[in-house]
């Protein structure tokens, strides 16, 4: 079963991606799907801003507007930001720890397909009678009473894609724990690997409450249960808790890997090791832990009482401390360094002031008594876009430029990259800075319009213009991608020339089996150490030998397809459609049948033989 160096037709390539279990290809799938959803979510954002540009606008109707914001938030968080981070985790993390692959290649593929089909399912709601319209938080009283199937799409779609995320998280955890190359101790792991690890652990503990919440809501809406039906003894606050027990850790699941990306970029382009590495690791773990203890700060105005509010307020503020440690460590990584302003470094540089602004407004909203004013206003919208766009999205853009050569073997154009940066960065501040003021001037969030004469008009217009700049930036980025891929100028192992971590010690893109021989890691920044000693490559930790590889499989796709079908059955079951129950059953049969096939059919993988590896090397040299 030797699969390399075969020329494939278009159909072959598609089939290859449908069945792949290779973490690098799955990374590309995540990048494409996540990128697509980012464009969708971004378009929705643009629609929001068009509608709000002037008072009493009727660009979209009130109901549609609620669908748009709900889908914008949901899409961006679940279907764009997380998958894009997963793309980099998949592409880079196994390389950074010197592994051949992730711990569970099969589950890796399954996780991707679950996410993707869940996202497709959710977005199909636009064409099947209306999208969810109760906000991305889908608070129970409104969500349970929302008409049509929108919220059902939300509940089922997130259920499916959440399962994929959970599987992905477990996979990364196991990978980091068992698959590290010889010498790669925990305290030698690059920061991006560390943040992946901690974020994955958070996924493991944060997603189950979401699953439960979604299940309860599904039972209420589709099967007549009464969890949130007050008249029947139900209680809507349960949903709020379950959602935020998940929802707050979720935002740190987003930001920690982003921190990881920037940590790599800062030290690479400063040509310095990360300042205070061990305190960075400590801060990461601490943020992860504290992240679970603060969720009720989203519920200050729910009426939990002063004791709960005070405790959660103080706990929330505490997160500022480890985050501050990180900020200063980054600054002092550059201090005394030799800072090269590449495109990724532009983003990293722009990130610092942007994120600090967002973080400190986070602490401001954490002051419970004052949050009674901020809550559910544009101040909060400004806060979280400052941390999310100024943190996570800038990191995603930075990572895209930084690791593009590693993933695709060719460099994105630097000039276009910088143009993208300026457009996006200016647009970002233009859009969201002014929203702080809108909030405290009395503009609630999630309003489809506002009346003139309240002092909101000019500021909203400014904000909308900013969104235009951001769109232009994104379009330049798309152009850049197209131009780069058409030109396709190949690059070597270490195109930035300052690479420090193991992924730069291997060709771009790496061979499908990654390291021919597992590398021997002698310290933090393993590749840099070797480079400083004048070596060109890593010292191998083992002789050349057979490499065990997993087989490709179509089963992940099938398992997911079954759930996708079943979800339609469950959804229309509530309408008393006669075909709904059979569809539900057929879908589940496909899923469980495929799982059965998987467990009954042995899959031992295959071996790349030593000789083949040698031949390939010769071929490469010739």
């Amino acid at each position: 079963m030797s699969t390399y160096a075969q020329k494939k037709g278009f159909g072959g390539t598609i089939w290859d991606y449908l069945t792949t279990v290779d973490h690098k290809k799955i990374a590309i799938l995540y990048l494409m799907a996540g990128g697509l959803f980012f464009l969708v979510g971004g378009m929705e954002a643009v629609f929001i801003r068009i509608q709000l540009a002037v008072p009493n606008n009727d660009f979209v109707s009130a109901g549609t507007f609620n669908e748009i914001i709900t889908m914008h938030g949901t899409t961006m968080i679940f279907l764009a930001a997380m998958p894009l981070l997963f793309a980099f985790m998949n592409a880079v993390m196994p390389l950074q720890i010197g592994a051949r692959d992730v711990a569970f290649p099969f589950l890796n593929a399954l996780g991707f397909w679950l996410f993707f089909f869940g996202g497709v399912f959710l977005n199909l709601s636009w064409f099947l009678g209306g999208a969810p319209d109760a906000g991305w938080t889908s608070y129970a009283s409104l969500a349970v009473h929302s008409k049509g199937h929108g919220v059902d799409f939300y509940v089922l779609g997130l259920q499916i894609s959440g399962l994929g995320t959970l599987i992905g998280g477990i996979n990364f955890l196991a990978t980091v724990i068992t698959m590290r190359a010889p010498g790669m101790t925990y305290m030698r792991m690059p920061l991006f690997t560390w943040t992946t690890f901690v974020a994955s652990a958070m996924i493991l503990f944060a997603f189950p409450p979401l699953t439960v919440g979604l299940t309860l809501m599904m039972f209420d809406r589709l099967f007549g249960a009464n969890f949130f039906e007050v008249a029947m003894g139900g209680n809507t606050i349960i949903w709020e808790h379950l959602f935020w027990v998940f929802g707050h850790p979720e935002v740190y699941i987003l930001i920690l890997p982003a921190f990881g990306i920037f940590s790599e970029i800062f030290s690479t382009f400063s040509r310095k090791r990360l300042f205070g590495y061990s305190s960075m690791v400590f801060a990461t773990v601490l943020i992860g832990f504290l992240g679970f203890m603060v969720w009720a700060h989203h519920m200050f105005t729910t009426g939990l009482g002063p004791v709960a509010n005070a405790i959660f307020a103080v706990a929330t503020m505490a997160i500022g401390i480890p985050t501050g440690i990180k900020i200063f460590n980054w600054l002092f990584t550059m201090w005394g360094g030799s800072v090269k302003f590449t495109t990724p470094m532009y983003y990293a540089f722009g990130f610092i002031p942007s994120f600090v602004c967002g973080g400190v407004t986070g602490v401001m909203v954490a002051t419970a008594a004052a949050d009674y004013q901020y809550h559910d206003t544009y101040f909060v919208v400004a806060h979280f876009h400052y941390v999310i766009v100024g943190g996570v999205v800038l990191a995603l853009l930075a990572g895209t430029h930084y690791w593009w050569p590693k993933m695709f073997g060719t460099m994105l154009n630097e000039t276009l990259g910088k143009i993208t940066f300026w457009l996006f960065f200016i647009g970002f501040h233009l859009t969201f800075f002014i929203q702080h003021f809108l909030g405290v001037w009395g503009m609630p969030r999630r309003v489809f319009t506002y009346l003139p004469g309240q002092g909101f008009d000019t500021s909203n217009m400014v904000s909308s213009i900013g969104a235009g700049f951001m769109s232009a930036g994104v379009i330049v980025l798309l152009l850049n991608v197209v131009i780069t891929q058409v030109k396709n100028v190949k690059v070597g192992n270490d195109p930035w020339e300052d690479g420090r971590t193991l992924e730069w010690a291997i060709s771009s893109p790496p061979p499908y089996y990654n390291f021919k021989q597992l590398p021997l890691v002698r310290g933090l920044d393993a590749y840099w150490i070797e480079k400083m000693e004048g070596k060109k490559a890593m010292t191998p930790a083992e002789p050349v030998g057979d490499i065990h590889m997993p087989n490709s499989s179509f089963i992940p796709f099938m398992i997911t397809l079954g759930l996708f079908i079943a979800a339609f059955g469950a959804l229309y079951h509530a309408d008393d459609k006669s075909w709904a129950l059979p569809v539900l059953i057929i879908g589940l049969l496909v899923t469980f049948g495929s799982m059965l096939v998987r467990s009954v059919k042995d899959d031992h993988g295959y071996h790349i033989h030593k000789e083949e590896l040698m031949d390939e090397e010769k071929g490469a040299e010739a």
């Binding site: 493991l204 209680n235 808790h241 009720a296 009482g305 709960a308």
Partner: protein, 111 residues
């Protein structure tokens, strides 16, 4: 990533030792099973007796449940064996989270 050595220099001795150890372990497991059954009976009896106040019974049976679960985890699921460092770290983090969630649901969902 290599396997554990399958046998030491003297395979027979090693095997003998292993068999003994397994049997020993099994004995422990039977004992812990008996204790679990015993604890279960006590818990049921405490409730059936009707004589105690709820203030006593509830903490008491919860304690019994915790003890029983510890037996399960450490004897039946071998969590004390080496090689279970990561599993126990993650399991106990999960238990901690579980505690926090249950605590908040019992205190700040209050009507």
């Amino acid at each position: 990533m290599t396997n554990q050595p399958l046998s030491s220099s003297n395979p027979r001795v090693d095997l003998e030792y292993r068999r003994k150890k397994n049997a020993e372990e099994m004995r422990h497991q039977v004992i812990s099973f008996s204790i679990m059954i015993f604890l279960t009976f006590i818990a049921f009896a405490a409730v059936a007796a009707k004589g105690f106040t709820a203030w006593f019974i509830i903490p008491f049976i919860l304690l019994l449940a915790v003890v029983q679960v510890i037996f399960q985890l450490f004897y039946f699921m071998h969590m004390s064996h080496e090689g279970h460092e990561a599993p126990s770290m993650f399991l106990f983090t999960g238990v901690f989270m579980a505690f926090v969630i249950v605590l908040t649901f019992m205190t700040i969902i209050w009507w």
